[in-house]
Structure formats: C-alpha cells, structure tokens
C-alpha cells in the first residue's frame, strides 16, 4: 500500500510531470516562472487548491453524481462532472484569494492576475478528472494530487533558473521573449524524459 502510494507520488513528479510531459498548466508556467519567489508561491497555491479540489470532488462524484451501481440508470449524473467540478474549483480559488489577501498580502500582490487564473489552470481540473479516470481510491487520489502539485513546483523552480539565463541571452529578433522561452522549455522537458522508467525500477510498480 505505502509502496503503491510512493510510486504514484514519484511518478507524478518525475515521469508524468504535468507541465513538462503532459502539457497541463502551461500558461502559469510561462507567465509566473520569471521570478523564483513568485514561482514558489504560485506552485504552493496550486498544490493547495489541487489537494482541496480532489478532496472535494472525489466524494461528490462517487457519492452524489455517480454512486456505485447507478451506471445506466437515470440516477447516474456523471455527465454533470465538468460543470460541477469547475464550479467547486472556482469556489476554492475564491476562498484562497480571500485568505491570502488577509494574511499574506505580499504574496497576494506578487501573484496578481494569476491568482484568479488558477481557476482556469488546466492542471487542477485535469488532475481531478484523471484521478477518477484512473480509478484511484480516495487516499490514492489525494497522494496523486499532492504529487502533481509538487511536480508543478519542481518544474517551475527548475525553469525559473533556466529562464534567468535565457533572459540574458541574445537571440535573433523574432525569437525574443516567448519563442526562445519555449525552446528552452523543450530542453527542460527533454531532460525530464531521462526519468522514464526510474520509478518502476525503484518501487517495482
């Protein structure tokens, strides 16, 4: 059990990294990774919302929308999944925004427009849906979400380092700004491909 949880956790960070391997959450990845401290703050906020969202959506899906044995009956409301999940996430983000505004105003300011945008961060809706698609239990889902959040953090922190070097470089005119950043992201993503298979080798998953 513990082994399986550890395997899920590290797979989410290294092998199935949402940003660098699955292309989820690219907007904040490109937008906020310029400065290290806002990158860390953003990733922690995303991790928090991810875990909370999973903790809220998993029981709602399993017990209200699509309880066991209801498949094919009118009781099965799985088709409401997308609408219900996105509203839950929107509420959680609003909650986080109020908390940060009151207690950590410095972080609130540095996140700026990206804070409300966590709602439309595809990693969060993505992880809640993928948890259900993969048939994870409640504990596994929580661990998977935490792993996805930490994976996001790792990618953001690594990339903010790469990006500082890129900003100082002198690319051709049309590559300035985002294009050269994306090429740098390609290299970072390439380095993560090297982790393929490492988790199976360690945990025997």
């Amino acid at each position: 059990m513990a082994l399986k949880l550890a395997s899920i956790f590290f797979t989410m960070i290294l092998v199935d990294n949402y940003v660098l391997q699955k292309f989820l959450g690219i907007c904040p990845f490109l937008g906020v990774s310029k400065k290290l401290d806002s990158a860390v703050g953003m990733s922690l906020a995303v991790t928090f919302v991810m875990v909370m969202a999973t903790a809220a959506t998993w029981p709602i899906y399993k017990f209200i929308l699509s309880p066991e044995g209801s498949e094919g009956t009118p009781r099965d409301m799985a088709y409401l999944q997308t609408i219900v999940f996105i509203l839950i996430i929107a509420i959680l983000v609003q909650l986080l925004e109020n908390i940060l505004k009151k207690y950590i105003p410095a972080l609130y300011k540095s996140l700026g427009v990206y804070l409300p945008l966590i709602t439309t961060n595809c990693t969060i809706l993505g992880v809640t849906i993928l948890n259900l698609d993969n048939g994870y239990s409640f504990i596994e889902s929580i661990v998977c979400s935490a792993g996805a959040g930490i994976g996001f953090l790792v990618a953001m922190v690594l990339f903010s380092g790469v990006r500082r070097r890129v900003e100082e470089a002198n690319p051709p005119k049309c590559f300035e700004g985002l294009p050269i950043t994306l090429v740098a992201a390609a290299m970072t993503s390439l380095s993560f491909m090297g982790f393929g298979g490492i988790v199976e080798a360690i945990f025997g998953g």
Binding site: I83, C122, L125, I129, L130, C174, L178, L182, V183, A186
Partner: protein
C-alpha cells in the same frame, strides 16, 4: 456597422490576432493534441463549436449578467457547451474521444474561450460575437493543423493518420506516407520536447511574419521552410 468591419472581425483571428501564436492563449491543448494533424483538426472544431455557442449566449445575456459575478456565469455557460460537445463526440466520433481523452473536458479551461467572452462577447452584439468566435476558431484550428502537420510528418513520417475516425467515408487505417518508411522518423517530435520546440519556432515565425518590413513580399514561403528545418 459596415460590411468591411464585419469581415475584419472575422479575419482578425486568423493571423493578426491569432489566438495561439499572437495572443498566446490556449497553449495547453495546442501542445498536447498536436502530435497528429487529424487530432488538431478535431480539437480545433470542438473548441470552435464551444467558442461560437458560448460567445453567442454570453453576448445575448451581457445586459442581464451582473458585473460582479460575470466570470462564474461565463464558466457555467462554457462548461454547459463543453458537456454538449463531450456527449456529441462520445456518441458520434468515438475514435476522437479516445485520442483527445482528458483534453476534451479541459476545453472548459481553455483560456481562448473565457478570454474572448471577457474581451469581446461581453461588449459586442450577438452577430459580431458569433463572427469573432468563428474567426478565432478558424485561427485556432489552422494553427493546430499546421503544428500537427509539422510534428506528425517529422515525428512519424505520415500525414493525417487517424482522419478516418473523423470522416467515416475514408478507408480504415487511412494515412498519407510522406517520408518513406525506410527512413527512421524523428520520434522526439511527437513527444513533449518536440511540442515545445515546434511551438516556439512557429511563434517566432508568426512574429516575424507580422512585424517584418513590408517590402519583402516573396518571403513568407521561405519563412515556413526555415521554420520547419
């Protein structure tokens, strides 16, 4: 409003304000589904449908929705149409459903749709918003298709494989072999790093095309080739 400006709303989304390459919206699906050109088309059409419908509804309701709660209202409208698309795709184009997977429900959080709702549909009439949706949708679909083409040709040596899932009259296993099978494909292009790389190069090409001095008329074709290399 004159005919000319209606046309400009429609064409705006294709190059000058191309949602992906110029406004940098909707990057996640762009990178994720473009490992095959046919997936790009499918994703583009699904997103276009949601974009047009939500633009129309939001523009029709723009005087009714209170300003403070507009974002949750928009998201609910968009999520509703995404659910419609999900059901339609599941019922009629099963292979596309499998190919797009989780990225189909994720159209809800595609920033292009919310972005256009906020920036355009909430301020303009129903017809203009529909045109804007169509224009942006075409721009999105074209970009996805071009990017999918580059990645598929280089990465698997084929073009449009899987199109038989979209168009049922094509024979099963339809594909066009562009690069002969005797040459090893450049598989990295279909995986994550290739996506980032092709996207970066295409964005540079679009920047160059829209900002270059006007006199070089013959250059675009060259730029595309240079971009692919």
């Amino acid at each position: 409003m004159s005919k000319n400006s209606k046309l400009s709303i429609l064409t705006n989304g294709i190059l000058n304000e191309n949602p992906v390459l110029r406004l940098v919206l909707g990057t996640c699906p762009t990178l994720a589904v473009t490992s095959m050109a046919s997936n790009g088309i499918g994703m583009g059409l699904a997103a276009t449908f949601v974009l047009v419908c939500s633009n129309v509804v939001i523009s029709a309701l723009r005087k009714v929705i209170p300003n403070q709660v507009r974002i949750p209202c928009y998201i609910t409208v968009i999520a509703g149409f995404v659910s419609v698309v999900q059901m339609l795709v599941k019922a009629f184009v099963q292979p596309l459903d499998e190919a797009l997977g989780v990225y189909l429900p994720l159209i809800v959080v595609n920033c292009i749709i919310l972005g256009r709702a906020e920036a355009f549909a909430s301020k303009n009439g129903v017809l203009d918003s529909a045109l804007d949706g169509i224009g942006m949708g075409i721009g999105f679909t074209c970009t996805l298709t071009i990017m999918g083409t580059i990645r598929e040709v280089l990465g698997s040596g084929t073009w449009m494989s899987g199109l038989d899932g979209l168009l049922p009259f094509l024979p099963e296993g339809f594909k066009i072999q562009v690069i002969p099978t005797s040459i090893d494909p450049f598989t990295i292009m279909t995986s994550a790093p290739g996506g980032f790389f092709v996207f970066g190069v295409m964005m540079a090409a679009a920047t160059w095309l829209t900002t270059r001095p006007k006199k070089e008329k013959a250059a675009p074709a060259e730029a595309e080739e240079g971009g692919n290399a």
